[in-house]
Symmetry: C2
Amino acid sequence: MFNALFWIVPVASVLALIFAWYFFKKMKGESEGTERMAEIAQHVRVGAMAYLRQQYKVVTIIFIILTALFALMAVAGFQNGWVWFAFLTGGVFSGLAGFFGMKTATYAGARTANAARDSLNRGLQVAFRSGAVMGLVVVGLALLDISLWFIVLNFAIPEAEAGHKLVVITTTMLTFGMGASTQALFARVGGGIYTKAADVGADLVGKVEAGIPEDDPRNPATIADNVGDNVGDVAGMGADLYESYAGSILATAALGAAAFMHEGSLQLKAILAPMLIAAVGTLLSIVGIFAVRTKEDASQKQLLSALGRGVNLSSVLIVILSWIILKALGLPNVWGVWGSIVIGLITGWFIGKETEYFTSAAYKPTRKIANSALTGPATVIITGIGTGMYSTAFPVLTIVVGTIFAYLTSAGFDMLNYSNGLYGIGIAAVGMLSTLGITLATDAYGPIADNAGGNAEMSGLGAEVRKRTDALDSLGNTTAATGKGFAIGSAALTALALLASYVEELKIGMLRLPEKAAAFTNAMGIDVSKAQIPDFMEYFNVTLMNPKVLLGMFIGSMMAFVFCGLTMQAVGRAAQSMVEEVRRQFREIKGIMEGETTPDYASCVAISTKGAQREMMVPSLLAIAAPIVIGLIFGAAGVMGLLTGGLASGFVLAVFMANAGGSWDNAKKYIEEGAHGGKGSAAHKAAVTGDTVGDPFKDTSGPSLNILIKLMSMVAIVMAGLTVAWSLL
Amino acid sequence: MFNALFWIVPVASVLALIFAWYFFKKMKGESEGTERMAEIAQHVRVGAMAYLRQQYKVVTIIFIILTALFALMAVAGFQNGWVWFAFLTGGVFSGLAGFFGMKTATYAGARTANAARDSLNRGLQVAFRSGAVMGLVVVGLALLDISLWFIVLNFAIPEAEAGHKLVVITTTMLTFGMGASTQALFARVGGGIYTKAADVGADLVGKVEAGIPEDDPRNPATIADNVGDNVGDVAGMGADLYESYAGSILATAALGAAAFMHEGSLQLKAILAPMLIAAVGTLLSIVGIFAVRTKEDASQKQLLSALGRGVNLSSVLIVILSWIILKALGLPNVWGVWGSIVIGLITGWFIGKETEYFTSAAYKPTRKIANSALTGPATVIITGIGTGMYSTAFPVLTIVVGTIFAYLTSAGFDMLNYSNGLYGIGIAAVGMLSTLGITLATDAYGPIADNAGGNAEMSGLGAEVRKRTDALDSLGNTTAATGKGFAIGSAALTALALLASYVEELKIGMLRLPEKAAAFTNAMGIDVSKAQIPDFMEYFNVTLMNPKVLLGMFIGSMMAFVFCGLTMQAVGRAAQSMVEEVRRQFREIKGIMEGETTPDYASCVAISTKGAQREMMVPSLLAIAAPIVIGLIFGAAGVMGLLTGGLASGFVLAVFMANAGGSWDNAKKYIEEGAHGGKGSAAHKAAVTGDTVGDPFKDTSGPSLNILIKLMSMVAIVMAGLTVAWSLL
């Protein structure tokens, strides 16, 4: 039944988890340094785990409700009986990935600082390999979940007419993506609100009012701020990419199953191809991780190139090995599919470079923003927003060019060969994400280095050490910005693949409802099971002149803005409570400013936790409810309008927010390094305002949009049966 | 040939122009007050006219190039020979409307201030009736252009098979909309950059650095600032709405001609209906204008209700009279079409109210932004952006509900009755804009009152007079915000109608190219001239799973952001030059601050003019080029993706920017009136930052988006023949 090559997937997954365990153990073996360092690390750890416990409590309730809903839908015949269970495991595995990643990150902060006391190279090794734990856990768990489900469903789903069984298997597996998506939503939104409420709150009172430096132990919000780096940037980013990774593999498999349903053994090969590419990429990521090392007196540029070497090695190897694996699999269209994979990788690389250009102080755009600080905060904001909006042109055009070429190569340059073309878009997303094990390691490295810097500052380590952790941290800012561009780009491609899967899911929904299937056959003169994507477009009238589609698009576009607006406001409110709490402590607890009394860190952590939990509910539920409600009113045409409108707007909005935020951050750092009067100048104060505005842009609202566009597609996919069964208009 | 009712249209147009002339003469008969007042008014007048001269010079060159291009296309057979000429008159008439409106506004400023020395009521009368000149000139010239072309083309276009002649007439007339649109683009973008460069520049050095009040004659940029109110808010807004007004009437007429092509006399009636509604609305606007008056000791609320009374009177009367006129016209579906008109009016009313709620300091959202000023400029910006994004939900949902009901009512509640339904959307836009004569009067009133305030301040009139002009000005801010919501809403509806017209234009394009028409007949088994909208959707494959459509949407969405980004950056740059010039004058010209020397106003005016002219080129050319380039690469499917993506994103983005900007403005005013420490407090300083950021949001980038979404549709319509003839993919 299985192709022998399939077994590479579970093997790669287990190997990834073993190496994750190995890196974790090695990191745990390092010393946490002085007593003071260990104490601070303990504060952060306790805070982070308290947050995660609270978060999982809330999410569990949501999952129970949704699982019950899906079970009900299965009973009503709108879905098969495996969906609710697949949904659940997707959520659990994503939660586990977040848990392990954060656990590792909170252990690694002090250890990185301590290793940096020895040498810069040691610091880099500890931080980066701890980040690698996150990267490998994410890809390992995703591949494990995929392998297990593929095996189980192969035995559980009854044989049906030729090709149909694999279609049911792949579309069922797709719904575990919704579990991952839902978990990711709360991780991103909750984590994003947490981290920025703490950060903005700490900065506003600490830096601006009290005039004490970042990470100063006298600031009561400083522990909350460090916890935030872990819950937002580690757990949130991990859940986000877990979802893109699994989503792109599953969507491509589903597209392959549908496209080649009537082509015998080719169908299974098309399903296995994305899984195998991901599995091989995982193995190569491990190779790449071992290649990251630098000499002692490395400059920041050399540090960056050390990381780059690992990533590039994995990427070059995957280009070669993916051709071999596709050949071994015996796909007829090897060059075409391989072309799409390479295009995906190149697209991801370009987006990373573009993000770097628009956010790094080494280039003109950020310098211009720094320069505008000379005329005050208003011009910093105007220039930052202007530049951020303008910068969207490049990633969008890159995705457009990449998508069209991925489509054309896979479709043999025939624009009308939908099945192969859309499969090509999916496989390009898989290609872009194939080396996620190592790219995510470089992302997760950022907040670990950030925490190491915080720990060094709070523990009063020497200037030499602080300089080293600063170098590590500064590098982390660059990888974080690049990682964000990559996350957005992969989300867009994944969402495109999910959109095509949605149409397949409409088909499955119809096949479960005999009277709907009959109506389709009546209208189109073709059996549903034989119908192709264009037939469904015609049947549901998904053209741009259907008002249901157009109005769905309006609502989708609006959803992106409203979702951002809600999360921005949430950060504003939560930060406000934090500001008041910090002011209260400065006022009421004597001796904080003199360093004689320890501030009440725990109450600030509690405020951020409570704020994040309270504020994440409305935007999250809105994202889940929108596709259901639109489906019930406007039907499938409205849902597709919603998804494409949300995708087109949300993608551009996300790029804008990430780039503007990243650029403000680095413009401030550029001034702090001495430009335009340096620290303490009027220009610096103006730049701090820009940075503070940019915080929720780049770490809350922007990244949450990635999830929004994927989750709305996932919800639509899972609810397709209901939409087929009933809609108002 | 004509229905006798048609003659109402030219009659209404001439009456509107006569009353505009009458109000203009009456205003000119008022005194400009003291010598000092007249002198300042003269400065503003000279500056405004200098700008307009320069602007028209640049625009003339663009028009010559485009006209030549269209003439070439006519020669090549892609368009008929009237298009270039229609394009030209659209541009000239729009330019004339801007010229007269601005002429009036610059005469009215000092006269309003002088009338306010007598009494508040006199001030209101002068300002409002001067605004009415603008309103009536815009609708009068639009109806005149429409009437003339309808008459001329009726004689010029040869009789063809049944119904075809009227289709050619209406689609040709539609292209005069592109002339209006192009003119409007430069007016909005150039005017928007001008006004905000001057405003931001004047505020940054004057208010923030030198600490002198707004409109202080010692500020060298103050005249440029007052000129800006006229070129941005009067000429820009007028050209924008001229375009929506003409565009909605022409698009609806074209839809009517196409939908009822084979239904005999019904076709002409469907064409005349939008013209007649607009004509009757114009007559009623004149009635409404005469109804605006208030008693002497009127409160601000009473002032507002005085304006409201006029608008409401016109609206109620149009509801009644439009039923009568439709009945007299003998449309078979009177209740349905009338329903769409009423829905359009209601939709416009709701959007106005929602805008007021989100931007007036009388309500919670703006109060919240004012409150966040207590924690500094960063939280003002975060809260403002968050609230602005959140606020988009309401106008978008209003438009969605309005559109779906306008469609359904007109389509007899049959979702699949496209022709009637889309006609209903068009007629709803016409309904919303039917009383534009008076609604635009209330808009144009705003900058006139603003200039009156500036004049009073600069001429050193007494506190009593200044209080009166302040009351008039403050009212103007409310009507300006409402007017902006209205402009965006009507642009969205108009763009929807234009989208449908685009499909009709594809048909015309095919009819001109025999081999394309034959290919269509071959593929679809139906003659092009008989084909309906869904047939073209199928032929060009305009479904949401066509990658050309999806990628077009991405680019459309991106266009909205890039366009905004470019205009924001333009304001930043132009304001920077202004800041440097003002600083230079303070430094080099002795005695300015002591009030002993007059600053060099003219050089600031010249800087703004030059900056605006230089900066408007790139975004404007981009908007014109995008639909052409996308058409040449991706064909009709890509263009429709571009238009819908641009519309969905651009509409929401425009609402966000207008509401955030309006809200920041009023939050600042709210603090200036004494809240949170009042003028000069830290909160006030933070709020000024918000207001400065909001300036380009609400007066440059946001309003320019209205034009972008309409202009891209217009360009696509005019270029449809070329797109049909040739595309790469």
